[in-house]
Structure formats: structure tokens, C-alpha cells
Symmetry: C2
DNA sequence: AATAACTTTCAATTATTTTTGAAACTTTAA
DNA sequence: TTAAAGTTTCAAAAATAATTGAAAGTTATT
């Protein structure tokens, strides 16, 4: 396998993985492309490499910047904007986790809290419902708190110890 | 808010969350419904409650059973099949994680390994590519190993200690 | 072995999401 | 201040994914 083929395979795979996880294909592909580009790329470069339209590139670059995992760069003497990806993978993981927590988990938690707070003096069915949704609330809250803790966690000694134990 | 409204809100929210994470809406809704049902439900019950077709119910129940998070039950005297959800949340989380690992992460890892193994004696661009994809391979492998370890992890003492530290 | 009860399959339809492309907008340089 | 270079927006089109429903397939009962 030579470079061009490997690069394309990587971009396609990353795109497919993204769409299985609720991130749109182009967004994941742009990110993949920027990850393996030693130099920052212009919108033109990206459109050309991925064969996508200007609008598509613009919208997905905006989304990636909103997620905080792609940055704009200005080159002196150049008028256009260049883009580059967050390449520190720990940083990347934390940002993605935080963003998804904020957008998806936090709102779901609110609903779980609400629905698990209904008056339970009624039927057995209601009791079971409240029981289950309360458990779910606790569980999701715990999982979500772990995300919040990861940033600090990966820097302290016991964290590193545990990482080691987990291989 | 009374029971019926709460139940509906829960099912809708869980369905929406599912589709943001690459699980189809109906599949997540059926699971949600079974989670809060004290009794196991027939396909008929599920169709009626979620207003979906027989085919849809059948296919998504099959998928949930493939994931190992919904089980068939037979009631004596009844000819039809009843369904019930895994209600132990730790068990649920582990099964979902394992399933997604098997279906999505493992194949992606294979690709990462392949593309990061190309001949690096060529251009600087190639060197950078191999460097980045190798890092990614190590990172994803580590994350995936953590999933494999969670089952045992949650049962042993240091695991519980760390859980406590993480609040 | 025929029939009734129930489940699965899958081509066609419907719904949802993504992408395009051209117009509107913004910024910079002359 | 104008025109060129570049970017964003968004309605319409295309692509993708989910759903239906009826026919085919199974299994249990008489």
C-alpha cells in the first residue's frame, strides 16, 4: 500500500466511524484529513481533496471549530484562512466528551430528573417507572461526572497508576 | 406531570438520544419501553404503545436481542412471545460497549494498523502520516482495552476505590 | 395434514439527513 | 469607494436510513 491509498483509506474509515457515532461523515473526514496533514490547509485544499462543495466545507469547518477541535490560522502574506486540527489526542478526547455531554447528556439528564419525580402514590406501574428512571438518572449522572473528571484525572498520580493497571 | 405523560416523554427522549449515538430511534424506544414495563410485553403490545408496524417491531427486537440487551420470554399457556429488557444498568453498559467495540472499533483498529504500517522511507508527508496514525492506533487500542477491562474492573477493590475518588 | 397463530423478510415507500450551488455577505487592497 | 478575494447562508436536490405492509415462512394445535 502506498501513501495516497493509505491516506484515502484512513479518511474513509474515519468518516464511516464518525457517522456510526452520530457525527456527520464530512465533518469526520475533514478532521481526519487535517490530522494527517503536516501543514494547515485552506478551504480550497479541503474541497479538492475530499471532492466536496464549498458550502459543505464551510459548514463542517464551522462545526469543527465550534467543537473546539479545529482551529483557524492566518498565514502572513496570504489572504485566505487556513485550518489545522487539534493533534493532542487526550485533548481531543476530552473536548469531544465535554461537547457531547453538554449537548446531549445534560439535556437528557434534565428529562430523567423530571420524569422520575412524578407523584408515586399511584399505581404499582408508576412506582416501577419511577424506580427505573431514578436508577437511570443516577447511572447517567455518574457516567457524566466521570467525563467531567477525566481532564484532571489524567494528570494525577493515581490516575496514571490506574491507567497502568488497565494496561 | 402524570404517569402517561412522563412515560411518553421518557421514551421520546431516550429515542432521540439513541439516534444521536448511532442507534436507531425505534430500537432505543423499544428498549426504553421495556425498561419501564414491570411485565414483559408482546410484539402486539409494543406496536400498539409505540404506534409502529409489525415489521419494524420485529426487526428492532431482533437487533436488541443480537445486542444481548433484550430477552425473549415464553409464558405458559400463551402462544406468543414476550420480551423483556436487561434492567441491570452496569450489565447494560458493558454489553453495549462490548457490542460497539466488536462492530465498530475493532474493524477501525485493523485499518489503523494497516495504514500506519506503510513504508516510511519516502517523503516527509508520509512520515507525518505514519506518525499520526500510529498515535491514533495506540490511543484507540488503549481506549478499547479499557472497555474489555470494565467487566472485571467494576468488581475488584481498586476499581471501587477509583470509582469513589471519581465520585 | 390441515389450519390457525404468530413471526420474519424484503421491495417499495416515506422520512430524515446531508450536500450542493448560487446569491448574499464580509473583508482587504488598491 | 470600488472591486476582487474570500466566506457564509440556506432553499432545493440528492443521498441515506427507517418504516411499512403484505406475502412467505414457522410453529403449535386439533
Amino acid at each position: 500500500m502506498e501513501f495516497k491509498e493509505a491516506k484515502n483509506k484512513f479518511i474513509q474509515t474515519w468518516g464511516a466511524l464518525g457517522s456510526q457515532w452520530g457525527i456527520n461523515k464530512t465533518m469526520a473526514q475533514i478532521h481526519a484529513l487535517l490530522m494527517v496533514s503536516p501543514e494547515s490547509l485552506s478551504m480550497e485544499d479541503i474541497m479538492e481533496e475530499l471532492l466536496i462543495s464549498r458550502g459543505n466545507a464551510s459548514m463542517n469547518l464551522r462545526a469543527l471549530m465550534d467543537w473546539g477541535i479545529v482551529y483557524k490560522e492566518y498565514k502572513s502574506g496570504e489572504r485566505k484562512e487556513f485550518f489545522t486540527a487539534e493533534k493532542d489526542l487526550d485533548e481531543l478526547a476530552v473536548k469531544i466528551a465535554q461537547e457531547r455531554s453538554k449537548r446531549e447528556i445534560k439535556p437528557a439528564l434534565k428529562v430523567l430528573k423530571d420524569v422520575s419525580s412524578i407523584d408515586t402514590t399511584k399505581s404499582a406501574e408508576t412506582k416501577h417507572f419511577v424506580e427505573q428512571t431514578s436508577k437511570l438518572y443516577d447511572f447517567v449522572l455518574k457516567a457524566d461526572n466521570m467525563i467531567d473528571k477525566v481532564t484532571e484525572f489524567k494528570d494525577n498520580w493515581i490516575g496514571r497508576l490506574v491507567m497502568k493497571i488497565m494496561k
